[in-house]
Structure formats: C-alpha cells, structure tokens
Symmetry: C2
Subunit: 393 residues, 2 copies
C-alpha cells in the first residue's frame, strides 16, 4: 500500500514548515499563530521521547482505532488525539507492524490492539474501540468504512468520503443498517477561524454575502504517490484540495449550488498528470444569487484563500486551511480588522465533536450525507469541465 | 446628458474616501500612500483657490482638450494633467457652460477654447489642441472619437473603448484614415504597482504563472445613472469594472484567451439591474494553460484584488485598481514581502505616455486594437453567460 500521505502534510512542507519523522518545526509569520507554535513544540517534545506515554486526562473517553498510518496520521491525528479530553487512541490498523509498534509505544496503545488489513474485521471483538478513523487512500474509504460499521463501530472517515457518489450512498446505507454514526472529517468546519467566517456570513454583519472566492492549491512533488493514480484517488486536485474550496463556497453561502461551470488543465507530458487533472477552476451558482469562483491546483505554490464579499464589506481567511497560522481579515469599507481568534487544533476539534456525538447519541455536523453532497457536486464539476457546458444540479 | 460619473469616482466614495466638489479628502490606511495623500492635499489646495492658475513647467507640452466634464474629469483628470511635464489642458468640451467656465478659470484654459457638443467639430481649427481626451458615457465614445480624429486630432479614449467591437473597428479605421494616434485609457497599465506585477510575471521570478484571480466590484448606488442604461453603457458590471479584471488576466498572463465560461446574476426586481447585469463571474483559458477566475459586480462592497499564482509563490495587489493606496504583496513560500513602490498618479502617467507617443510619433502601449480585443472578449463572456456554454475565441 502506498504511503497515505495526505495533502495537508505535503502542504505543510510546501508552506515552508519542515516536517521530519522526529517532530516538526513550525515557521510561521503571523503573531496569532504563537499558540499553535507552542502546541507544535509540545508535540515535538513528545515525539522526541518515544518512551513517553501521554497520560489520560480524567474523565470518560471515546476509544479510537486509527486506520492507515501515513503522514496525516503520524504528524497530525495521533498528536492531536493526545490533546483530547473526550477521545483517546486505543488501537492502530496498519500494513506495517514496525510502524504500528513504534507508534503504539509512543501513544500508549496496548500491543494487543494492533491490527493489519487481514484481521481488521476482528476489531468487532474489541470493546475498547468505539470509533474507527479511516485515514486511507480515497479508494479504500468505502470498503474500510463499511467493514468498520459492520464490526459495530462508529466511523470517522477522511475526505473525500469516497471516489464516487454510489460508494458514498453504500456507506450511508451501511451506517443506517448498523445503527452506527458516520462522520466525514471536514476539519475546517470544526476550527474557529472558519467558524467565525460562517458566523459573519449567517449573521450578515456586513450585509448578505454576494460573491465567494475560494482558492487552494499546492505543488504536488512525488509523481509516484497514490493521489496521482486515478484508481486510488478518484480524481486530481479537485478531489484532494478543491474539496476545501467547494466546502467553503457551500458553508459560506449556507446553500446548495444549482449550477456549475468548470475549466480544467493538465500540462501535456507532465508525468504527474497522466491520470488526474492538474488544475480545475469552477464556478457555482446558489439559489439566492450568490456566485462562487473556486480554484484547485496541483502545480502552483501552496496557498489557501477564502473571501466572502458582502454588500457592506468583505471578510477572508488567508491562509484559510493550513493547520496553523490561519489569519482572518474583516474589511468594513475603510477599516480592516484582524480579529484575535484563539486557534484550536483542527483534528482534535473534529474528533472531540465525533466523541461528543457518540456519547450523547447525536448526529455529527458533517455526516455521510454531507460527504455525498460534495461527491455529487464534484462529479458535476468534472462533467462541466469535460463538456464545456453549465451543469445543473 | 447624464452626468458622466465614472466608476472610479464612485469607487473612491465607496472605499471611504469622500469626494466633494471643493476637493477631496483621502483617508487611506497604508503608509505607502503618504505620497498620494500629499498630492491630494496639493490638489485640494488648488481646488480651493479657483483664481490660482497652475503655472506651466518649462518645456514643450502637448495640448489636451478634455471632452465631458463629469466626476472623472473634475476630480482625477484635470488635477492630474496639472502635474504633467509633457501634457497640458488647453480646451474643454461640455454641455454645461458654467461648469466649463469655472474649470477653465481654475486650470488656466483660454475662454476662447471652450466648446460644446454642437461646435465640437470646429476644434479642427484650434492648433493648440493636439490630443482629445474622451471622458463621455460609453455609447458616445465612438462618435466623439471619430469626429475628433476627423478634426485632425489624436484621441485618448476612456475604457471601455466603445459598446461593440464594430464601433471599435470603426474608430481604429478612422484613426488610420486620419493618420492620427488612438489610445485607450487603461490607466493600470501606466502605474507602477500593476507594472511591477507584470514584470514579476514576465521575468518568472517566482516561476511561471499558472492561475490568475482578478476580482473587482462596488455597490452602484444611483439607479438613474447612465451606466445602468444599456443604450449608454453597452452592459453592466462587466463593461465598467470587469474590464479591469479582464485586463489583469490578459496582462498578467501575457497571452490572449482562447476560451471563456461565465455566470451572471441580477437581483429580480432591483431597479438598478433592469437593463444590465449586476454580477458576472468569468473564467478564461490561455494557450500556455494559465487559467483565470475573474469577477465583476455592482452590488457588493468596493474591493479590487489581483493575484497571480506561480509555481514557487504568488504575488498580488490588494487593492489593485484604486486611485491611491495600492498595496503589493509577494509571497515566496514562507516569506511575505510588501515591496516599497513609489506610487504615481495613474491619469498623469497615462497622459504623459500619450504625449510622448505624439511627440516621438510612436504607437501607444494600449492602442485602439487593445480596446477592440477587450470588447470582443467581453461579447464572448456575455454569450457564455447567456448560453451556459464555453465560448471559443
């Protein structure tokens, strides 16, 4: 199985923050990011002492099995879960026993709770595991989610939820049949900068939003990675990073798009883009008349920028989806504010939400249905790019 | 004739800089704008002393007749020309004698050189006039440009050049027949911030540009103004402010688009948008694979933002087309610079270029052919928005 390197990890590298096996060094420009730097150094200290078992804070915790130990799991999810009050890692699933053993030691996972892809289904017999967090390549999401649900576990699945709407529907059906929760890991919905953007949009502090810009991309370096194989990724920059732009357009408008236009480009002869698209720009129309212009690409400098333009001003995040260092600006005509928002770890926040939903038997904010909606729209974006016609949803 | 209020003047108001008849007060947030503020105060001082004739600096100057004394002429062009070394105002053309007399006194224009729309053609007998600057509503550009050329004068025409490509072609033909110069007043091409963006793009300091974002718009307030009458404007936000986004995409890519997508919206029942579009988003494809996402609107907060995303970083202007206070940022991965660029008056710069072309018998950087190219593309954008199909150029 290829390394399940997630775009976030790569993006972090590309944004100038070097990631190493032993920890990470956060080089950030914004003062607001100080708290995140501190958190990073803390994680760093933990990472450098593999014998150090992070002690559980008091109180009941939901037990997680993390499936797929790629960069995202190693550098983001496992360190994040160690900070959680309601969530703890109790099991690991990996094809690499050495990696699993090392991480088990670092995070205090019982060696009896290490699984591989062959004995994965036996996780049903492990009462410590409440939630399975799927951090695999996209094409494996459906299978491992469904097997997890059938094992009687709740599932938190990385985005995109799957590679086709049909797979998403099967996953939703499996969750319903198993009477288990299914949540898609849209981390930006759980962190306070994007939440403040949503609040400003909903409360119309600057009047109603009329236009949304959402741009995200990075330069994908390794031509051999799974996300450039269509059979594993389902698509290129749209599925991987454009989904953030699409999400932003949807959660900032608070509506579902009715029409989409798109234009895509892949450099002829570039070995990275033989199967999936390099760049895709798309436009969305929402029922209230909001129009969104979105971008995703795999060949330019890392950046992420969401701007919501309302009648009396505009507000934006730049960067909008990096793990740390998010910056918000609110332009009220002649006055520009940079609200002092206390950052929170995106992954810890999303896992805490999932745990709370499990504890209180509530539906997650981003259930399987939300993942399905994005997949349907992304298929329409591909159709629009392919045909050169506006596609109605 | 309706007041030829230009979008720039309105945008200035909407950006929080109050314009009054007696001068203007620049409230700007960026330190870089200090020089512009000083220039503004100087103009203000001049404006408050209508008896004060601005003395000519030494040296030969090209004589201008300004046609149309609306806000753009009063608050931008006439004050700008007073700063010029190679250009001077020698005649005014207006339907309002009182306005023309007052401005003639302020700027030292010979009272014999005041024309109206009836005796405009007699300007051919005035050897002091070398260039006619057309600052009229769009629908009048073609007629007054052609009459000016037939009077043997060079013509500098505000943008959009006309309301149809056919009109543009007639203007170009008239210039050729008259053997006179015809330049379109694309002020951003002559000011140093946009010029620095173009330099960075051409020299590929951050690698080749792959994606361009260009967003510009403002809230148009007065529903009775000419730019909301299709017969006078030729179109809505696209023709008025979207032309800046289109220009940015073209001059930052350095290429001509081959395909266009578009989506437009006008709020039903809004009296402002009965004849012309409110919002229009468009996508452009360029031959090298550069894709551009552009916006123009007439109902949101004033802003203007151009961002060119290259392989190793990105560079942007925000604001990008205000008269003053432009700000450039260059993001080289983890390092963000704000280059200290010395601002220059946009209108003075463009007029000095025209004067130099006249003096040295050279073709302007933005001749009639450049205006025609934009009109052809804007017609394709309208067609794409109307049909929902990608239009090939």
């Amino acid at each position: 199985m290829p390394d399940s390197l997630k775009p976030e990890a790569l993006a972090l590298v590309l944004s100038g923050r070097q990631i190493t096996r032993r920890g990470f060094l956060a080089k950030v420009g914004q003062g607001l990011a100080a708290a995140n730097v501190a958190a990073g150094l803390l994680k760093d200290a933990v990472a450098q002492q593999p014998h150090l078992v992070v002690p559980d804070p008091p109180g009941k915790k939901v037990g997680y099995a993390v499936v797929g130990l790629g960069q995202l799991a190693i550098y983001q999810i496992l360190p994040a879960i160690a900070q959680c009050e309601k969530s703890k890692v109790v099991a690991l699933v990996s094809g690499h026993p050495d990696k699993a053993n090392k991480l088990a030691l670092r995070y205090g996972v019982d060696p009896n709770n290490l699984y591989n892809y062959q004995n994965y289904d036996s996780i049903k017999d492990n009462p410590e595991v409440n939630v399975i967090y799927i951090v695999l390549p996209n094409s494996m999401h459906a299978e491992y989610t469904i097997r997890g649900l059938r094992a009687g576990k709740h599932v938190l699945c990385e985005k995109p939820m799957a590679t086709t709407p049909a797979e998403c529907q099967t996953m939703i059906d499996a969750a319903r049949q198993a009477n288990r929760k299914l949540m898609v890991a849209y981390r930006c919905r759980y962190e306070p900068f994007n939440q403040e953007m949503i609040r400003l949009a909903r409360e119309q502090e600057l009047g109603p939003v009329r236009i949304i810009h959402a741009d995200a991309g990075f330069n994908i370096v390794d031509p051999t990675q799974w996300r450039l194989r269509k059979s594993m990724s389902g698509g290129g920059s749209l599925m991987d990073i454009g989904i953030y732009s699409l999400q932003a357009a949807r959660y900032l408008s608070g509506e579902e798009p009715t029409e989409v236009n798109a234009m895509s480009y892949s450099t002829p002869g570039d070995p990275r883009f033989q199967e999936v698209e390099e760049t895709i720009n798309f436009q969305l129309r929402f029922p209230s008349g909001v129009l969104a212009n979105c971008t995703a690409d795999y060949s330019s400098a890392y950046r992420s920028h969401f701007r919501a333009i309302a009648t009396k001003g505009y507000f934006e995040l730049d960067p909008a989806m990096s793990y740390t260092g998010l910056l918000m600006r609110v332009n009220r005509g002649n006055e520009v504010e940079e609200p002092a928002i206390q950052p929170r770890d995106h992954f810890a926040s999303e896992m805490e939400h999932m745990s709370q939903c499990v504890m209180e038997d509530k539906t997650p904010l981003t259930p399987g249905e939300e993942g399905l909606r994005d997949l349907k729209i992304m298929m329409a974006i591909y159709e629009a790019a392919r045909t050169g016609n506006t596609v109605r949803l």
